[in-house]
């Protein structure tokens, strides 16, 4: 993410009072643990099609602020130097095109045009095996293979104000998801509705029946039906939360400066879960039709949530900001005049008499890519940013940021997919200069040039999308084919085939 956080503002307070790193449970992923390729964290029972080496996780980069790329790119030291060349901006893809990642997933990336020293995008692609923690019925479960669950996982992490948060999330978020799913392994494989209540300890009886109900009121005598799908959604939501909490705990010891947007896809038991926190985007292109699978979270799209928080908790505004929005900054000489405004309840505008406190900075200002919250940050959901403060102030910004993603579910079994149907994930470097329709047109153009069973076609598509957004260097910067400025940002793209030769089918 380019300029998402005003660099003058994103200064870090290193003297915070965070407790030392302390995993929440013995099973919890730890950023200092061995790389997840080690047997205890790697997929234990990957399905036949996904080679055990095909989804090697991102390795821990120990040196701070070092330049790191996903290990699935298998960059040599020379390749790493080329990838870090802000002048050349070479497009990188995994070698052994189309066979490296599960489902023949295509991937391509390019780094920014010198706007930040190190690449702030990170990516991850994994096949993750989840072993159940214990039996739902309370009986000790035999730890045999085959009782667990596998999920496929793709993640894009777009960092800002430093690269460590994106790097940490790319290494650990899928392990938090695995952790959240451990309790659900048996439940998700049992076709009966999930039990509402589980025993606290193995062996104790559960109480999932409705005979225990009390209360004469109709609204209490019913019980909600909770689906398996909503349990997976809840697991992903909580995994984001725990990832964010881990960053808070470890921010001092591991220099987790900055924050990152996270766009994550989980395929589990026939359904695709797309979780987005930030301004990356996912779309499905199916038979030429565009199906949006995410929405962006920015000061503009989340204006009312932010204003409501500032209104209900004025102490978070520190006397420096007003929760009201004005179409531009109010001038002191306009005191007593009437200016357009809107509050947390309004979508329209009205006039109000300007009072002294309206001269404060507006909590939300600007439009489009220039929209900012507290004049500082251009995204309102994501991971990290625990040390982010308002410029020349100790006012923390984190209380306004949400680490919760919006999760959308796409049932792969509801539609017969062809090899040209794809799920495209991209960071804002792609979408800032490329519309959904342009992406769909590129999907059609590139895939029709390859045989349907050629596994390299999705990598070629990812590369075409990245190249199309980067442009080519000309006299005055990187230019697109229409001579408009290309994206000078990091650009990272996954192309996930929904009915391709290497997919689940």
């Amino acid at each position: 993410m380019l300029n998402r956080v005003r660099s003058a503002v994103a200064h870090l307070v290193s003297s915070g009072g965070a407790p030392p790193p302390r995993p929440k449970s013995p099973d919890l992923p730890n950023s200092t643990s061995a790389p997840p390729a080690a047997p205890s964290q790697a997929p234990r029972s990957p399905p036949a099609r996904a080679g055990s080496g095909s989804a090697a996780p991102v390795r821990t980069v120990e040196a701070r602020a070092s330049f790191s790329r996903p290990t699935f790119l298998q960059l040599s030291p020379g390749g790493l130097r080329r990838a870090d060349d802000h002048a050349g901006r070479a497009v990188q893809s995994p070698p052994d095109t189309g066979r490296r990642l599960p489902w023949s997933t295509g991937y391509a990336e390019v780094i920014n045009a010198g706007k930040s020293r190190h690449n702030e995008d990170q990516a991850c692609c994994e096949v993750v095996y989840v072993e159940g923690r214990r039996s739902v019925s309370g009986a000790p479960r035999e730890p045999s293979r085959g009782q667990g669950l596998c999920f496929y996982y793709w993640g894009l992490f777009d960092g800002h104000a430093g690269g460590r948060a994106a790097e940490m999330a790319s290494r650990l978020l899928h392990r938090h998801i695995r952790e959240q799913l451990k309790d659900l392994v048996e439940i998700l494989q049992d076709p009966s509705p999930p039990p509402l209540c589980l025993p606290s300890t193995p062996g104790a009886p559960g109480s999932s029946d409705s005979s225990h109900l009390v209360g004469p009121q109709s609204c209490w005598s019913s019980q909600k039906e909770v689906t398996h799908e909503s349990l997976v959604v809840g697991a992903i939501e909580n995994a984001f939360q725990f990832m964010d909490e881990q960053m808070a705990r470890e921010r001092r010891g591991h220099q987790v400066e900055g924050g990152c947007c996270a766009l994550v896809v989980v395929y589990l038991l026939g359904k695709v879960y797309i979780a987005n926190a930030g301004d990356s985007r996912a779309i499905i292109v199916r038979n030429g039709e565009i199906i949006p699978m995410s929405r962006e979270f920015t000061p503009e799209t989340e204006r009312q949530r932010l204003q409501m928080l500032g209104f209900l908790k004025p102490e978070l505004l520190g006397g420096e900001f007003t929760h009201l929005e004005f179409p531009r900054r109010v001038q002191p000489k306009e005191l007593g005049q009437r200016m357009l405004y809107r509050d947390q309840n309004m979508t329209g505008w009205a006039y109000k008499k300007i009072e002294l406190e309206d001269l404060r900075f507006p909590l939300v200002c600007g439009e489009g890519k220039k929209a900012r919250m507290m004049a500082t940050i251009g995204v309102t959901r994501g991971l990290g940013d625990h040390n982010l403060r308002v410029c020349s102030s100790t006012l923390p910004i984190k209380p306004f940021l949400s680490s919760f993603p919006e999760v959308r579910v796409y049932d792969l079994t509801q539609y017969e997919h062809c090899p040209d149907d794809v799920l495209v994930l991209g960071t804002d470097g792609l979408w800032d200069v490329t519309s959904d329709c342009e992406v769909a047109a590129t999907v059609d153009r590139v895939l029709s040039a390859y045989e349907p069973n050629d596994p390299s076609r999705y990598t070629a598509l990812a590369q075409a999308l990245v190249l199309g957004a980067r442009g080519t260097p000309r006299d005055r910067g990187w230019r697109l084919s229409n001579n408009k400025l290309g994206s000078g940002d990091d650009i990272s793209v996954f192309v996930i085939p929904l009915g391709g030769p290497g997919s689940y089918s």
Copy 2:
């Protein structure tokens, strides 16, 4: 609204400390003023098609808890008695079918099947003239006719826990809208963008240019473009707010018990504004296609807003409620076990260990028509309810209710409408037993039986919709043609033709 508020719970605290009625300005509508048919409030310059008597507003009903119906129904004392007959449930429509209301609007209603003593639905249809308050430029404006604005107005108000709030809103809300629009009369008729800032007093210069901008930051150097449309939206939003504040001020003097949902349509300068606060619904049926023009606000649809408020302001829960949602009431014996829950951030579900405070009543419980907030109320937006308390408690419910509508805009000029294209407004009495598709089918069936230029066709359609939702009396209650139970609730329906013989065109 039938059973929207548990009657055992909706007890009124008459000893509240509300200040005596005090209008906010000399122009503000007052519930004790003369009926709005008087010259100063009636449309001063209605367009030719709308006869001055055709949109007579609902008259003030002075006797408390008396039975009142919209004056446009022109019910005789005998007709009023028949309308109040819960056994017969006669369908009422305005006489002089199709010529009484502007645009040949159709209207029909029926009262509930004895579930409440008096009808709690109210309706209003008006042509309202707005005279500008003063010149934007500051120069005193000549108060000549023709400089003002006219808007068409339709409103449905579905009361609960008493009929006075619905009655008051039906008499006054359009006047609050007129009041909010007074400042905008010149601005809305000027094709240039609205000024961002207005002088505080006539004659003082405005400051709408951008030369006053300060601040080097890009997010402050820009100014938002505010559309005319968004000013009208803001005016309607604030009118709802002021209506609600007036109810709060006058609740003691005028016995404004209970509350009401409000669904309001404003036609102004080529656009239709549909404002909804509650669980009424508006759809457009255009060339057979259904276009939803509102959404319902209930404890289910607003769960996260309610939970967020309870989380941020726990004092509003009074130690009696938990902001967490559980699929059913938690039992004391389940302490320490793990139950499914979701908090204000989640859409999915997860397990948590039951702690003591989880045994409190859930803020939101139940599903569908049985969903309740604080075990009391089934709608979360509307007007009034200032005295509503939780059963056996002094805990106020009002802080969780919002008086702000969601406003959707439909541009009538963007499509060539035919006489069969209609906007249908209905209270939940209609929608509880009738789907959008069934309404569309009835639109097609009824309108095709009439000549396109027959003004009575829309009244016939409204009657058919009400009859179809009421059913006919049989052995075991009112039954629909499919033998399912009909709606025992009040049912009120407006059918507004978008391209009919009497419409704006």
